[in-house]
């Protein structure tokens, strides 16, 4: 099934799904791994919880498929559903998300350069565990943009679509988030 639709773009695949619901599993195959990682990185540790959230994400995606606007990337749209669904989960459990990065991903943050010169924002000696802790201590608005920018490697327009904030605000939040992260790391050291 997956192979059958492999060559189709997201938009073409959606058109097929609207006439044949079986084709929807191709969308699930295409995005499941990425969304699973994203939900985990947002702080859902339990694999059962991740699976429940994923199911809800895909069912919502199917139900609201016709609301998808072709002028935006489908990946941003489905990430947005996953993002909202994950935060709904935290709200329902009255839990605060805990950032969960593995060591190699923590390195992504260590490679961030400051805006004004070629210096790195952080000391390369910083432990990824500290990056995790520092990220956890950040305000949600900073944590979300930093995660999408440096771990999920989304561009500003995609982050704007996922978080539903103006592109200009994305740039501001990333800039402020980097400063906040540096301060939080300095406190940890």
């Amino acid at each position: 099934m997956e192979k059958e639709y492999q060559s189709l773009t997201d938009r073409d695949l959606i058109a097929v799904v609207l006439s044949n619901k079986e084709a929807f599993s191709a969308i699930i195959y295409r995005y499941e791994a990425a969304l699973r990682r994203y939900i985990f990185r947002l702080g859902v540790r339990n694999s059962g919880d991740i699976e429940d959230i994923l199911q809800n994400v895909f069912i919502k995606c199917y139900r609201y498929l016709r609301s998808f606007n072709n002028s935006f990337p489908f990946s941003s749209w489905i990430y947005r559903i996953a993002h909202n669904e994950t935060y709904d989960f935290f709200r329902s459990k009255k839990r605060r998300p805990e950032i969960a990065l593995d060591e190699s991903l923590g390195q992504n943050f260590l490679n961030i350069e400051t805006n004004d010169n070629n210096e790195y924002l952080f000391d390369k000696e910083v432990d990824s565990r500290h990056v995790n802790e520092a990220l956890e201590s950040l305000d949600k608005k900073y944590r979300d943009v930093l995660l999408l920018r440096y771990i999920e490697e989304k561009d500003y327009a995609q982050i704007s679509d996922i978080l539903q904030i103006p592109p200009g605000s994305v740039a501001t939040l990333i800039h402020r988030g980097k400063i906040a992260l540096r301060k939080a790391l300095e406190k940890k050291q």
Binding site: L18, K21, E22, F24, S25, I28, Y29, E32, A33, E51, L54, Q55, F58, I59, Y62, R63, Y64, L65, R66, S67, N69, S160, Q164, I165, P166, P167, G168, S169
Partner: protein, 282 residues
């Protein structure tokens, strides 16, 4: 293992879709929702424009030219006329406009500042247009039934129906030049007579039958008769773009001196003193 999990999720989702008969919602559902928010934004702009039109009307017809007569200080006057009702309504509409735009499918792409500036600009343009076609007064009158939000015209009528201050307004019903009495109809069925003994010729010119006038008067305690000190016209609210014109008499010094000799009761009437100081002598 990974393939197994993948299949499980896909299978579970497809099964759930079938079991719960989940179907993609129709396109019109989203189109209607989106357009509703755009329409609500438009409504907030229209109401905001009405608030602007009414505010322009209020500011241009607040009775600035009589401020010295009707109020003790400019600050009192200013707080009296500020159309808080319209300003609050306008601010509320700008906020609602922002909220509705953000609820549209692409609304999140616009920044707060952009939405607010666009809403302000459109409301001001709309408000200026509405005022220019002459509906500012009708819109302002709309707040008549609301407590503590009297229309500016009603406020002015109240100000000029204040016997404690010696301020009156009404329509000239009769003018008896022999007995030097003028009768004004203050409101339906209520008439008041004023002695014109202390009025100048220029004041008397305003006292034509059926014309609406303002009178500053003092009470002659011996005869218990109201003595008119000055007569001013009651201009109709501004025509578009122009506030009411001031038709106050410009007096020569010799005339002013004659006034000073002529007046008796009026010299103790405070609004009249203010009228002389602030208007005639300017």
């Amino acid at each position: 293992m990974e393939q197994k999990i993948k299949n499980t999720i896909a299978e579970k989702v497809i099964k759930k879709i079938e079991e719960e008969k989940v179907a993609p919602l129709a396109k019109w559902h989203f189109v209607v929702k989106d357009n509703t928010f755009w329409a609500l934004w438009l409504v907030s702009i229209i109401i905001g424009s009405c608030a602007v039109a009414a505010s322009i009307f209020v500011f241009l017809n607040a009775g600035w030219q009589y401020e010295a007569i009707t109020h003790d200080s400019f600050l009192n006057f200013f707080f009296d006329i500020v159309p808080l009702f319209w300003i609050i309504s306008f601010a509320l509409m700008i906020f609602l406009g922002y909220y509705n735009i953000r609820k549209t499918s692409r609304g999140y792409r616009f920044s707060f500042v952009l939405i607010v500036i666009a809403s302000l600009l459109l409301s001001f343009l709309g408000g200026t247009f509405l005022y220019s076609i002459g509906v500012g007064k009708s819109i302002d009158n709309f707040r008549d039934p609301i407590p503590f939000a009297k229309p500016i015209i009603r406020l002015e009528e109240d100000r000029w129906n204040n016997s404690d201050k010696g301020l009156f307004s009404g329509v000239v019903k009769s003018l008896d030049k022999k007995s030097k009495l003028v009768t004004l109809e203050m409101s339906v069925g209520i008439e008041k007579a004023f002695s014109t003994i202390e009025l100048s010729d220029r004041d008397l010119e305003f006292l034509t039958p059926d014309s609406r006038v303002r009178i500053i008067a003092g009470l002659d305690k011996e005869t218990n008769i109201l003595v008119a000190c000055a007569v001013l016209p009651w201009e109709e609210p501004g025509i578009p773009y122009t506030p009411r014109q001031i038709h106050l008499p410009q007096k020569l010094e010799s005339e002013r001196n004659r006034d000073l000799e002529r007046i008796n009761i009026c010299k103790d009437v405070r609004p009249y003193q203010r009228y002389k100081e602030a208007i005639i002598t300017n």
